[in-house]
Symmetry: D5
Subunit: 153 residues, 10 copies
């Protein structure tokens, strides 16, 4: 079993919410099944950031998929990293793609994608979909299955 003793957040009493995404370390731990290729999915229905122009809060439902390459994301550090956008101002595309790039930098996965499903503003929600390229052959990549926005009725 990998050694989890030196982690910054996991197993500590509850850590304070970081000030900003930049100040949060996204930790990696050894992949316990590095001999095979598989997909890990994080679903994040509790994401919020600020509009960089007006300072008003924005909300999103995010889904992150990745195929590890020897490292996996430590989930408590992920939670804190995502929570750190709470008082951070950035456009929908920026937030979504920034998260993708930070995870990519932290664990250098074989493949990664992110779906950012943002709550409507002005009646029109924006979704942002990104992947690092074609999925690796032979790995199972299920649809994210998030239903489209319908308005009312």
């Amino acid at each position: 079993m990998p050694d989890y003793h030196d982690l910054r957040y996991l197993g500590q009493t509850d850590s304070p919410l970081p000030e900003s995404p930049e100040q949060t370390e996204l930790e990696a731990v050894p992949d316990p099944h590095a001999d095979i290729d598989y997909l890990v999915r994080f679903t994040v229905p509790e994401f919020t950031s600020l509009c960089p122009v007006t300072g008003q809060p924005d909300f999103a439902h995010l889904v992150v998929d990745y195929v590890p390459d020897g490292l996996i994301v430590e989930s408590k550090s992920l939670k804190l990293f995502l929570g750190a956008f709470r008082n951070h101002g950035a456009f929908h595309e920026d937030c979504t793609l920034l998260i993708a790039k930070r995870i990519q930098a932290a664990i250098q996965p074989k493949w990664l994608r992110i779906g950012g499903y943002w709550y409507p503003r002005g009646g029109i929600p924006i979704d942002v979909f990104y992947q690092t390229g074609e999925p690796p052959a032979g790995v199972w990549i299920p649809d994210q299955g998030v239903p489209p926005y319908r308005g009312r009725g």
Copy 2:
């Protein structure tokens, strides 16, 4: 069978969209089953008006229920009346309740209610629910069953 010959819109070649709700006659026709009490429901997923302050379009899903008292609403005049809000400015509450009052004035039903389910603005949709009082005893009044707004995810 009631006489439908003198109607202003029904059976005419397609009528132009009226300029405003005030300029639209909401017609009544004799209830073909005036001997019994029953509920008529109109569902209107195609409603739009303008914000009276900013002039931006608003959208709503409306459901109108009423128990006739000798008269029923002629549905083509209803369609034109509702279409006439297209370039009319009024707040959500005003539009919803104004429609209720106009139908009430036109057919004097035993009972009427309206549910106005408005598309979100600023992340928060407003619904407006009005009825003219307790439903008449012994008449079947099913739930309108419109699902609540969920945001994303």
Copy 3:
């Protein structure tokens, strides 16, 4: 067990579709459980009639509930009766309430209601809800649970 030998349609080789509702006999058979009060529900997703003005076809989803009073509706005669509206012209309210009255006449139930859920015309569907009065006390009357019309999206 009641005697079903003299029925006009049931157990016969397939009967032709009747010309009109008037020419169809809606048969009653003895209630096998006349000692207790219960509700029978027919769900009719295959109903169609004609518009009396334009001759165009109309479609509806109907649900009929009744509490028998010694007689129940023979279901094959019901199917033929409802099929007989196929070339019959009548407004939505008329069709719905006519069906209620014919069943009422045929079996004189303790209580009856009908929900007529019509397909949209001009973007606005009409629903018609009728019951013969307050449901009899102590009888279980579940909601019909038909979802409201939503438009698209």
Copy 4:
């Protein structure tokens, strides 16, 4: 039409997010239909606060229903008031009921209720339901219709 000129937030260029709920004025405007009784529903899928013990973010879906008594809530001030919980620490019950009490103080409605549907913590979501008493007779109060939490699968 009521006078909306002296409002603190509405019609202003985008207002900064308030520091705390206490520092936010929840404004009231005259009810444009004070002659009748009706229900106004706000649905708030974008609510977030902090845990008062750990400082971790909490999320909720809120639905507020009220029957005005001469005043209605100005919706932009409501949005800012709710946004002000972003950096405010309070338990689920406290947040939910505090919102109810602030709206009640601001507009003194005939009746008010709030449903607070909180995201799960420890696998168990908490919902909080409050109303100021029996709904006023004859006013239509539809179900809030929020689906229950299901876990996975």
Copy 5:
């Protein structure tokens, strides 16, 4: 960060609804992540135009997907552009494809598609699906997931 100072609509006090699609400038802004390929989705449940023959209103739910090539659509100009169809007469196919072509002209994306899901007329809704060709390899293009029209029942 790109410079957003010279935009025609964004950051201005609320702009009046344009007279027609032709009179609306669909603005482009620099893509903040031009180094990678990703998909942007706009969902537009609030679209309405007029029938060019009868002048009656039409309604649609639209979904636009595109892969930027150095420019992205400024969303406030998009909202105004789409709002400008409000008093514009065109058939379903025309509206849907015109929107695709205008966005294509404004930002010259690597790839674009549009789904136009129109509310039923005469009982039969029309959907229009267009894309500029095969999606670029390696870019993630999720299904639009709009449920089909069901009629009633």
Copy 6:
């Protein structure tokens, strides 16, 4: 704890399917919480019988609710009793009400109801709803929540 040693089926190796409902003993066991009143619900999506006239199989989804009065139904005997309708011929109403009466006879509950939701024949499904009278005051009786039949689309 009640004594379950003398039961005919429970705890035995798998019992053969009974020949007919008449030959199946529906067993009662002492209610472990006879001091309070509560509702027990059995949901039976696996019910089948034969048409008494044609011998063709019929299928139903059944839901049974009851409030015990000192005895509860032993569930394995219930399963066998319901399985015994497999080669038994009876109309929809008969099967549904016969089950109600047998359970009533076996445990003499304070209150009982049954909903029989039958698969469509001739395009029209029949539902049968029965209860023994008004539910006892103060006992919680949730809706059965079975969705209505919709046909296709």
Copy 7:
């Protein structure tokens, strides 16, 4: 804009329902966007025909997809053509494929498919799926998304 003056049905006062599919002209009009390839979908939840053996009515939900090749289907003639099956006897497979062939003959599309989702008979619904071959490369062909038949429960 194409010339729509010589059409047989469109723009005329409401046309009588044709006697049979053979007697209905399925009209074609010039494709307003012949320069690009796109998909047009008609959803037809209001289809009915007769069983050729028993004369009993059959019902279906139909979805037609096609990629025009210079011509599109005039929708009012389509509605009348489909309505003309009302008194026409043919098996499920025949009706479904006959419609495909008639549309194909009328507009010679680049590609066409039809899904026929028939209401159950004898507990077993039949679906019929046909396309004229592999879809043309680079054209967007969304799933029809019609949910499967579930029976009850």
Copy 8:
């Protein structure tokens, strides 16, 4: 039109349920559209068999898809064949694959598949999916779309 006169079951007064699958003739009739390739789908929500070890009833929802090669399945014989499993003992895999093989033998289709969705036993449902090989190129093969089992909640 093909000749249906010599069929064993179709058009006969209601046939008795066969004793076993082996004793049921699965009849083939000429394909009325042998000139083209299309898919026929049977949905069977009313399937039941017996456990070969315990004799307890099993239930399944089956979906059969095939592309005819000059012959199609006569649906009444299919219904009787499937009904004949009622008193037949076989494991889930056996029943499902046996049905596939019998249909294959009867009509020698170009391609066939079956999905067997069995009701849970011991909390774990088994699904069985079989096809005769890659679907023939250019034929439309929609997803079966049966939702997965969810347990409760």
Copy 9:
């Protein structure tokens, strides 16, 4: 604010799973809004116990509603208490009602109810519904809204 310093579990590093329900203290804390009456709902989709006869695991989805009377349940102690059924053997009715009685003993609420929705065994799920009597007047008690079990298809 109430004093939470003396709690046995809350705020402690993660507590071990208790051996049995009897060994778990269900803690009460002062109600922060004792001046008003409201409903608290716990939803527990993660409940499991053992069959007292066979030792096999059972699973349930539980929903608990209560109206506090000066005390509320401390949620971490509730989580541990419910987790303590993991290796505890009891029938469905026993588990469900035992939980109700323990919560009742711990906080003496004005009113309490529990819905126990158990996973199917032998094809037939059992639900258990209990409340302490009629809900207190004027308190809002929403439906639990748990969908019924459907089997497959």
Copy 10:
């Protein structure tokens, strides 16, 4: 028919829950249809394990798909094997992949995949998706269709 006489669990009176996954034999039986390739799916909504660090229970919904190669999994041994995780501590990824590897070792299938859909912790559920490589050509592999986690609302 294969010989099932020497199985360790099947056909025995109810076996005790094993102490750990290691102590459970996952049995294989001969594939009754070894001549063809098909997919077997187990759906497991009743899975629970322990967190290896805190000892707190975790819950998951699992779906296992495999294509047999002469052997199939004996389902009672599978149920016991999965039940043996009840008091076993391992991370989400470990549990999910361990199950895959044990089944793989026991039956050496042509192909296998597993979807592990875990209940949320800290607001973020983790899903784990693994397959042994590209599915074998020509075998039908339907989507698992598990809906994504949505939070509340």
